[in-house]
């Protein structure tokens, strides 16, 4: 969205992945430009989350590859082979890629502030005072500065997810991945999280979001990607995808998930 963004170009090329005998990703290719906001939608089991998790190598692809700003994720080229990186180097790459999980996955035995400062201190070797200052700024940005010393269990679901977003931002990532960030929330708490993500969408960080919130997808996305059965069925601007889907499969999906009042 922001024109100033120069980093965070994601290029997914023909990625395949199977679990047991089931092929979950059947050769997926997708490009997200720097600062772009791609929202991936589709029925459960269509491979959305798996695709997202291959981007930071939490899930190792069986075939295909992913580059970020031209650099391979999880591999390096030696001769004509791709060698998997050592864990240390993969961890280093991951500090450029923030991830926000459906179930927050905050560390329950650490306070909100400790959750946010942990990674910058141990993964980026920032000094503690500096990390703390930055963490408080980030907590302020998500509206939780006064809850810095609360433990996750003392926070509501929406607040926990906002802390999780601050935690991901603490590494100053080029890219942020959101894996159904509002699916575990009560309906009344969804908006406080979506508002934070909306604000991020204009900040120049590349966002890749898996969600079931169609209204939000239409608002925030540059590109909407519709996935089904391990493949990208259709992608385009929100107007194209929501108003004039070309594929019958896309049309039938949206006719089920979008309430009539919302039809454009």
């Amino acid at each position: 969205m922001s024109t100033a963004a120069t980093r965070g170009h994601v290029e997914i090329t023909n990625v395949r992945k199977s679990f047991g005998g089931t092929e979950v990703l059947k050769g997926v290719s997708l490009t997200v430009p720097p600062g772009g906001v791609a929202v991936i939608v589709g029925p459960s089991g269509s491979g959305k989350s798996t695709l997202l998790r291959t981007i930071n190598h939490l899930e190792k692809a069986d075939g295909g590859y992913i580059t970020i700003d031209g650099q391979l994720v999880g591999y390096q080229v030696r001769g004509n082979k791709l060698h998997e990186l050592r864990e240390k180097d993969i961890l280093k790459q991951r500090t450029d890629i923030g991830m926000v999980f459906q179930n927050f996955n905050l560390f329950p035995h650490l306070t909100a502030l400790e959750n946010v400062t942990e990674a910058p201190v141990v993964a980026l070797h920032r000094n503690k005072a500096e990390a703390r200052k930055r963490a408080l700024e980030l907590l302020d940005r998500v509206g939780l500065k006064d809850r810095a010393d609360a433990y996750p269990r003392q926070l509501s679901g929406g607040q926990q997810q906002r802390v999780a977003i601050a935690r991901a931002l603490a590494l100053d990532p080029k890219i942020l991945l959101f894996d159904e960030p509002t699916s575990a929330l009560d309906p009344e708490l969804v908006n406080e999280v979506l508002d934070v993500i909306r604000e991020l969408a204009t900040s120049g960080t590349t966002l890749i979001i898996v969600t079931h919130e169609m209204g939000f997808a239409r608002d925030v996305a540059d590109t909407v990607v519709f996935m089904d059965d391990g493949q990208i069925v259709e992608q385009g601007s929100p107007q194209e995808i929501f108003a004039n889907p070309r594929e019958p499969r896309t049309r039938s999906f949206f006719s089920k998930v979008i309430e009539p009042a919302f039809n454009i």
Binding site: L91, K92, A123, A168
Partner: protein, 359 residues
């Protein structure tokens, strides 16, 4: 009852002025009481005002009956302990702090501390091996637990002590060659103490490995994923993220094991090792005061267990940080709150509020 009805009717008039009363009768107190059952479908009546009423807690007569019965039982036991001369409390008192008994106690504590610490360290390593992706590490760990959990501790103990019979010398060198760096007689290396520590440690390791493994497995997989996604290194992931959370599951069973080990050390009497239990045995064989001396040992075991239980409480409390919304009060805090609440002669609002603030 009539005064109550008046209050209800008055409050109905005060708090709901605009909706016209369903009927003129509502203005008369007696009629209002009669109407409440007769006309449920009338305009919803505003809630009555009970703010001046006194609260009377529910009574629990059977709880009191149970309490009295149990108290009687406790008194009866205490009475018999105190008055039956055959307990020979004088003898117990005489031996309780005798030098030989205290020495035995220190040996028991030493054995417990050393084999407990070594056992849990080895158990931790075995647990990590068991969770490893390497089939060899996994099966070695499994086999270790299998063997040491399926043989009686008594047998293990005697086996270690008699190792000299199986292997006369123990040496360190390059296998399949004649090069030896060092060689000793097994019997000089394996003293009673060494056999006791070896037996208790290995046995303890087999059990604690399972406890630690269970604790690690109880931590949600998402925690590891989140840590990995944040680029936190593997060692830090284990020590900072997983172990502190695993401790909640590990601690209760681990303390069970340690308390078991305190008393389990008494098994080394078969090696004639003079810890607490062996010491009192030696004494009562001489003096024939069997029960009083067993009581001496028992009281010491109770004392050790009590101290350990206090440690357990506070350590568990420490690791429950973040797992419960608010930490429970410690006994000390509870006592302070109790006195703050009940010490005052007049039970008033101020005291109650103050009690709430004490955390």
């Amino acid at each position: 009852m009539s005064s109550a009805a008046t209050t209800v009717a008055q409050s109905a008039q005060q708090s709901a002025p605009e909706p016209a009363p369903a009927s003129a009768a509502a203005e008369s107190p007696t009629a209002a009481a009669a109407q409440s059952a007769a006309a449920p479908d009338a305009v919803a009546r505003p809630a009555a005002d009970y703010s001046d009423y006194k609260l009377v807690p529910a009574r629990h007569p059977w709880r009191w009956v149970g309490t009295v019965l149990v108290a009687l039982g406790v008194v009866a036991v205490a009475w018999s302990l105190a008055t039956n001369p055959r307990w020979e409390w004088g003898v117990v008192a005489k031996w309780f702090t005798a030098q030989s008994v205290v020495n035995g106690l220190l040996e028991t504590l030493k054995l417990t501390a050393i084999s407990g610490a070594l056992g849990f360290i080895l158990g931790f390593i075995l647990a990590l091996m068991r969770l490893s992706a390497s089939p060899l590490l996994l099966s070695v760990s499994w086999t270790f637990s299998w063997i040491f959990r399926s043989t009686p501790l008594l047998v293990q103990m005697l086996l270690w002590y008699n190792l000299g019979y199986l292997y006369e010398k123990i040496s360190l060198g390059i296998p399949f060659t004649d090069i030896r760096f060092f060689e000793v007689q097994t019997t000089t290396l394996i003293s009673q103490f060494a056999a006791a520590v070896l037996g208790l440690t290995l046995n303890q390791a087999a059990y604690s490995a399972e406890i630690i493994r269970g604790g690690i497995l109880s931590v949600d997989q998402g925690q590891l994923e989140a840590a990995a996604a944040l680029g936190i290194p593997a060692w830090r992931r284990s020590t900072r993220i997983v172990l502190p959370q695993a401790m909640r599951a590990i601690l209760p069973t681990a303390f069970n094991e340690i308390i078991g080990l305190v008393k389990g050390t008494s098994i080394v009497y078969v090696l004639a090792y003079s810890e607490l239990f062996y010491t009192v045995q030696v004494i009562y064989n001489r003096t024939q005061q069997v029960l009083p001396l067993l009581l001496v040992a028992t009281l010491w075991y109770v004392a050790i267990t009590s101290v350990l239980s206090v440690f357990q409480y506070y350590i568990e409390r420490h690791y429950s940080k973040g797992a419960v919304r608010n930490l429970p009060l410690t006994p000390l805090q509870k006592a302070r709150k109790f006195f703050a609440t009940h010490a005052a002669v007049n039970f008033d609002r101020v005291n109650l509020d103050r009690a709430k603030d004490i955390r």
